[in-house]
């Protein structure tokens, strides 16, 4: 870390392209989009300044709060579902297990498939009347479990979360696979000689070394979940009766279907603030856990 003094100029050179590109094409448009949130605008005529009214309306809208609740649920389910599953599979498939290569390839398929295919197929498989899942459950004598997975407003959200986890766990799997390459084999072998079993090796060596990656994964997970849109849109369109409405679908609806562009932008700003808050919280929580960083 003593490269600093003589080589300060490289800091600038190395960072400049990224930062410049990012500010021009990402930060600036985002900030501009926030401005619309303070206006009443149908996207066609002239925007009218209305201060905080959009935000007041958002806080009063039941459907917004419903979508907020659903989104938090997705975030929690994703963090608890995708990351551990991805981590577990990465560790398992990093070893010389027979067929590891095959599994690594096959398990990545959900990421490759288009959302339209995923949404359509899962809707079909989970169909209450004709779906394969219920068919199997019924033939196993488990009719009580053959529920209306996507049509029952009370369980639809859980079903959607499960499909979301299914689609994204392999993203974390490959991120952790890469990070695992950085763990020297000799440390693990030394631990073996000392008699440590798998669990201890994991908790004492692997996990601490992977912790920064886990923190990165959590950031990606939160931001991805807060923006969830495609899969829900294809499978349920936010229904039934807003049971699976997410903030992004709510925003899209207001912006493009109902000619309330200003209101939609206000929703985006709210999504941003909430996501940012969640990330800050998670980062500080995780940093505390990792004292030697």
């Amino acid at each position: 870390m003593e490269l600093i003094s003589r080589n300060r100029k490289y800091i600038f050179i190395g960072l400049f392209p990224a930062v410049a590109l990012y500010i021009i094409f990402v930060i600036y448009p985002i900030v501009r989009s926030f401005f619309y949130g303070f206006y009443e605008w149908n996207g066609l005529g002239e925007p009218i300044y209305i201060g905080l009214k959009n935000f007041q309306d958002i806080l009063k809208d039941n459907i917004f709060w419903l979508s907020f609740k659903n989104n938090i649920f997705v975030v929690v389910a994703s963090i608890l579902g995708q990351i551990p599953l991805g981590l577990f599979l990465a560790i398992v498939l990093n070893s010389k297990l027979k067929g590891a290569g095959f599994f690594r390839s096959v398990l990545f398929i959900p990421m490759i498939l288009s959302t339209v295919v995923v949404g359509l197929l899962w809707s079909t498989l989970l169909n209450y009347q004709m779906g394969v899942v219920n068919y199997i459950l019924q033939s196993l004598g488990l009719e009580k479990l053959a529920l209306d997975w996507l049509g029952n407003p009370d369980i639809a959200m859980y079903t959607v979360c499960a499909v979301i986890i299914w689609q994204f766990f392999s993203l974390y799997m490959i991120i952790f696979l890469a990070a695992l390459q950085n763990i020297p084999n000799d440390i693990l072998e030394a631990a073996n000689i000392d008699g440590a079993n798998e669990l201890r090796k994991f908790f004492s060596i692997t996990l601490p070394m992977l912790w920064p990656t886990v923190m990165t994964a959590v950031v990606l997970c939160i931001s991805g979940s807060m923006r969830s849109f495609d899969l829900v849109y294809v499978m349920t369109q936010g229904g039934p009766a807003n049971a699976t409405e997410l903030m992004a679908t709510y925003m899209y609806n207001k912006t493009f279907s109902v000619y309330k562009y200003g209101y939609g932008s206000a929703v985006s700003l709210v999504i941003f603030v909430i996501s940012f808050g969640l990330i800050l919280i998670s980062q500080s929580l995780m940093r505390k856990k990792n004292s030697d960083r």
């Binding site: 349920t236 369109q237 229904g239 279907s257």
Partner: protein, 450 residues
């Protein structure tokens, strides 16, 4: 966009100069107005130098859209007839069309000619001053204008100014029923609400889905079923009075009765159990497989039915409308419908471009075009189109008979603005899954009337 307009004007001015030099009086007469005020497609008087006019056209008649093959054929005919028009044609599938158009609108960059939906969308665009009206075009072409059913023009008219003409009409509430299934259980097509309930319960008892339905996108229930049910209870003027705040309200008993009846048939099991997870295309599969006795969908479904229904089923498919409701104030003979989309003109185009686009609007909706609609199974927007019964598909013929027998009344998502539409769509879906009561929905609607 600006660059193209300037180039077009420069080019036209040069041609004017040429025309002037050549000294042919006929050409000078023709070039300014550019609109052939005739419907027949005799070769145009392309005497002197036809001016080159460029304009951009955005439409959604592509891919699986009902009008895609028609549009492709008709556009190449248009290009043949008007070689001096250079059209930058953007074909965008319907779902993406709204996103792309509204993004460009928000950035102040609309194309010269683009498809608009009647009613709500036209009103929004017109009141934001983005469209040029075609009143003078209608004045100049009385034959063309008078051929239309009034709906095809009225639904594009705001404050006396008309902005487009519909490429056909859409009936939203057609009951396709499987006569063989009705016969099997000794049922005849219901003529009253009580009979409808009886038919539903009989089918449910025998394990047949009474009505195939898919309401995942939220609009089908409102557009294909509820709009007409509400009209049966309330009559047509009632809704106008509600929106004009003229003594009627959504909380009136007639409307609540309509919602209650809808709730009632849902609870009787009228629909397939997974209706909430299917869209209005997937639900048709139940009907095609012979598992559902009826399906209620719009005229846009006709090409799909013709293409996908098995032959033995097709022989048994009959078309009808919802029965009259006893005690209801509505005319039992009407059915809900709306004009199809039409091409509108950007207010900022040059006069030459406006003339060219007006040619296009006429070309796509004149009597020759209407004949072509029939060939492609699109319901026509002209009052009198003779259909060649020997060539047309029997189901399309049944459709046209249905249209000629039953006048159209408005659909809710056409009459209401987008905010009210969202409330009624959500409300109906809420009622269907038992999360909302009719009174609640009525109250929400009334609260949002401005």
């Amino acid at each position: 966009m600006k660059k193209q307009i300037i180039c077009a004007i420069l080019a036209i001015s040069l041609l004017f100069a040429f025309a002037g030099c050549s000294g042919k009086p006929a050409s000078q007469e023709n070039t300014p107005s550019q609109t052939p005020s005739r419907e027949e497609t005799t070769t145009p008087a392309a005497q002197a130098v036809p001016e080159k006019v460029k304009f951009s056209l955005w439409h959604s008649y592509v891919g699986t859209d009902q009008r895609a093959p028609f549009m492709e054929a008709r556009m190449s005919q248009f290009r043949e007839q008007y070689p001096n028009y250079e059209i930058d044609e953007q074909k965008i599938p319907r779902d993406q069309y709204q996103t792309k158009l509204k993004t460009q609108a928000a950035a102040g960059q609309l194309p010269d000619a683009f498809v608009v939906w009647p009613n709500a969308m036209t009103i929004e665009f017109a009141t934001s001053n983005l469209l040029a009206d075609i009143n003078d075009l209608l004045e100049r072409n009385p034959e063309w204008r008078d051929g239309f059913v009034s709906r095809a023009l009225d639904e594009f008219t705001v404050d006396g100014k008309t902005y487009s003409a519909g490429l056909g009409v859409s009936v939203t509430s057609i009951v396709f029923y499987n006569k063989a299934l009705f016969d099997k259980y000794n049922l005849s097509y219901p003529q009253s609400y009580e009979e409808l309930k009886n038919v539903i319960t009989t089918f449910v008892k025998n394990g047949v889905i009474p009505i195939a339905h898919g309401n995942k996108p939220k609009w089908p229930a409102q557009s294909t079923i509820f709009s007409l049910m509400a009209n049966r209870e309330t009559g047509s003027e009632w809704l106008d009075n509600v929106l004009a705040k003229n003594g009627a309200q959504f909380t009136d008993p007639e409307f609540i009765r309509a919602l209650e009846k809808f709730e009632e048939i849902t609870k009787l099991g009228a629909f397939n159990k997974d209706f909430i997870s299917l869209d209005n295309v997937q639900m048709r599969d139940y009907f095609y497989k012979g598992q559902a006795a009826m399906m209620i969908d719009g005229s846009w479904a006709v090409p799909d039915v013709i293409a996908k229904a098995p032959e033995d089923l097709k022989a048994n498919i009959e078309l009808d409308i919802l029965p009259g409701f006893e005690g209801g104030k509505g005319d039992p003979n009407v059915m809900s419908g709306v004009s199809a989309t039409g091409i509108a003109i950007n207010k900022k185009v040059s006069p030459q471009q406006k003339a060219a686009i007006e040619d296009l609007i006429v070309f796509l909706t004149n009597s020759e075009a209407q004949q072509m609609y029939a060939e492609y199974n699109i319901p026509v927007s002209y009052k009198n189109v003779t259909i060649d019964k020997s060539k047309a598909d029997p189901i399309y013929i049944k459709l046209t008979e249905l249209i000629s027998k039953h006048p159209l009344v408005t659909v809710y998502d056409s009459a209401l603005n987008s905010e009210l539409t969202e409330i009624v769509n959500n409300g109906i879906q809420g009622i269907m899954v038992g999360k909302q009561t009719p009174e609640e929905v009525a109250k929400q609607l009334q609260a949002a009337v401005k």
